[in-house]
């Protein structure tokens, strides 16, 4: 049994501890502020050298060779090609796997499949890049001889595999959160399981499922090593997945590998592109998480 003295002492320790804990709690805010500050400061420098409109709407990305051109659209198209492609693969598949796990899988199968999905999610991106380069591209070449050595399709496929577990798991969570009463009512009316799922449950948690897609696409946009290895370093404004392209993330790595010293316009381009990347993923994440937060009430 505690006595009054030890409770007093405990309260004193608690008072001393509190500021430390609060600093810890606030730390993440500082991280976000840090990211925004650093990215915008360098981007500001960049826009002193290159007009904003040229950057945002230019169609040629040639920051190093004369005649220099700083239109970021090729990089954006590369990023979209990969992430939308990955989404087209992962989202339908993810929904179906999520439904399978929730509605159809007996619990022993579920116990096997879920860990397998987690393993897929835990494999580092570099492994997927290697897989794309040494397996997927040669495989595709056997029936698509026009495909280039570095191409967007391989990148999209492996990024799709990468985000698949995420989509499946989020869909699974969303479906499980639906109150049983809703499902039982539908069954009572004579609906088959697929009709219940597709007609009743999914519309009920549609918001959360949308959020899942948004978060998955955001993850695909931020993917770096897999696309750098697989899709190449050829910024061009194209929507043909058989070509080599360059994503925003690959470009930043390319500049870093070349290791340009601070200050030059080359160095600044990587920050400007990173800032754009950050804005895109941050807004997508914000929207996605807000929907989730609202949905969980």
């Amino acid at each position: 049994m505690e006595n009054a003295q030890s409770i007093e002492r405990a309260k004193k320790i608690e008072k001393a501890l509190l500021p430390i804990l609060m600093v810890a709690g606030l730390f993440t805010i500082f991280v976000t502020i840090g990211i925004i500050f650093i990215l915008s400061r360098e981007t500001w420098q960049f826009f002193k050298m290159v007009p904003v409109l040229d950057f945002l709407f230019g169609v040629k990305w040639e920051p190093l060779m004369e005649p220099k051109s700083f239109g970021v659209l090729p990089l954006i198209s590369g990023t979209l090609l990969i992430s939308v492609g990955a989404g087209l693969l992962a989202i339908p598949a993810g929904i179906m796997i999520g439904i399978f796990l929730t509605e159809y899988a007996p619990s022993n199968i579920r116990r096997i499949v879920k860990p397998i999905l987690e393993i897929l999610a835990g494999i580092p991106t570099i492994v997927y890049g290697f897989f794309a380069l040494t397996f997927v591209t040669p495989f595709l070449k056997t029936f698509m001889p026009d495909i280039e050595v570095f191409n967007a399709l391989s990148g999209a496929i492996v990024v799709g595999i990468m985000i698949l577990p995420m989509v499946a798991s989020l869909v699974d969570d969303a479906l499980l959160a639906i109150p049983q009463g809703l499902k039982h009512g539908a069954y009572a009316l004579g609906a088959t399981p697929s009709e219940v799922v597709l007609g009743v449950v999914i519309p009920a948690c549609f918001g959360r499922i949308m959020a899942a897609f948004i978060l998955a696409i955001s993850r695909a946009i931020g993917e770096t090593m897999a696309v750098t290895l697989a899709a190449g370093s050829n910024p061009q404004l194209t929507f043909n997945p058989l070509h080599s392209i360059q994503t925003m993330t690959s470009y930043i790595v390319q500049v870093a590998l070349g290791d340009t010293p601070a200050g030059g316009v080359e160095y600044l381009t990587s920050y400007a592109v990173a800032f754009l990347l950050f804005c895109m993923t941050f807004s997508l994440n914000w929207i996605g998480h807000r929907i989730m937060q609202k949905g969980s009430k």
Binding site: V149, F150, G232, L257, T260
Partner: protein, 304 residues
């Protein structure tokens, strides 16, 4: 409760550890950076060097000749690998920053223009044709644009980026001005990427140092270059006797004079020059005449 204090203490300990011992005076290290072309040579030397002087840490970056010089001028590296001589603007910048250096030629290279090994139609190109293909105003898009009887398929171009000494040298030798080039090609400072690209693509064409062709001769085909005196293929003989022109060139390393004062750097360079005759050909390039290495070694020994 106790574990919490333990955590605080360990953080403090690590921080102390981190901020103390910033001295790299104990650890002998040499930093190199620069040309991807020269990299195979310095990699071979560094590896052999390690077997005899394991304590000395050597690290080598591959930022391209231009990138390497930027760091060299900023005193960030000791030695710059260069596949072209230092530019006057770079020399100026070095002077401004109080960087004095020594230029050491280490090998000859025959810059090789390659196509895919399954390319059956292209075997030689004239220098004028090269200029037509790679010049800044180039209108060549398909093979048939160049020669009527070649396939009517688009050429996929691969080449070094603007930080590459190979890029500078090629554009100067072929297009007349360093940096003047068509811009719609896949660029990389890493020649390995270019090899992968050309080796994987039937309609590809690229250019890089001879060593990279040598190491991948099964998947690549080197084109013979005709500069008016007949088509010459790059090889040990033609590069040494200069008939493979205008794409034969010397490769250099530039050494920071301050760095030279450090014992480990001197040891490394002495080893380099002594073993170059053996390691340069192994790396896929052409060694200089023995005397040139001996002269450089003598020059090195006189610098104190």
């Amino acid at each position: 409760m106790r574990s919490h204090f333990f955590e605080i203490i360990s953080i403090a300990a690590i921080s102390c550890m981190a901020f103390s011992n910033a001295s790299s005076a104990n650890t002998q290290s040499i930093s190199l950076d620069g040309s991807s072309t020269v990299f195979p040579i310095t990699e071979a030397v560094a590896e052999e060097f390690r077997t005899q002087h394991g304590k000395i840490k050597v690290n080598i970056g591959v930022s391209g000749t231009g990138g390497g010089f930027k760091k060299f001028v900023a005193k960030e590296i000791d030695i710059c690998n260069a596949s072209r001589p230092i530019k006057s603007s770079e020399a100026e910048a070095a002077k401004k920053n109080n960087v004095t250096y020594t230029e050491l030629p280490v090998a000859y290279d025959g810059l090789t223009v390659v196509v895919n090994s399954k390319n059956t139609w292209a075997n030689t190109l004239t220098v004028e044709e090269l200029k037509k293909i790679w010049g800044p105003e180039s209108k060549i898009k398909t093979w048939s644009d160049l020669r009527k009887d070649w396939p009517n398929r688009p050429i996929k171009f691969y080449g070094p980026g603007t930080d590459s000494g190979t890029f500078d040298y090629f554009t100067e030798a072929i297009n007349g001005k360093s940096g003047a080039s068509r811009s719609d090609y896949v660029k990389s400072e890493d020649d390995n990427t270019l090899v992968t690209g050309v080796a994987g693509e039937l309609d590809a064409m690229g250019y890089f140092g001879f060593s990279y062709f040598q190491a991948n001769s099964k998947t690549l085909k080197a084109l013979s270059i005709d500069n008016g005196k007949g088509a010459v293929a790059p090889s040990l003989e033609t590069i040494t006797n200069g008939t493979y022109a205008p794409l034969s060139r010397p490769l250099f390393i530039y050494v920071n004079a301050e760095a030279l004062k450090r014992a480990e750097v001197k040891t490394f360079l002495e080893f380099f020059l002594k073993e170059a005759g053996r390691l340069v050909p192994e790396a896929g390039y052409i060694a200089l005449e023995k005397k040139k290495y001996e002269d450089a070694l003598a020059r090195l020994k006189t610098m104190k």
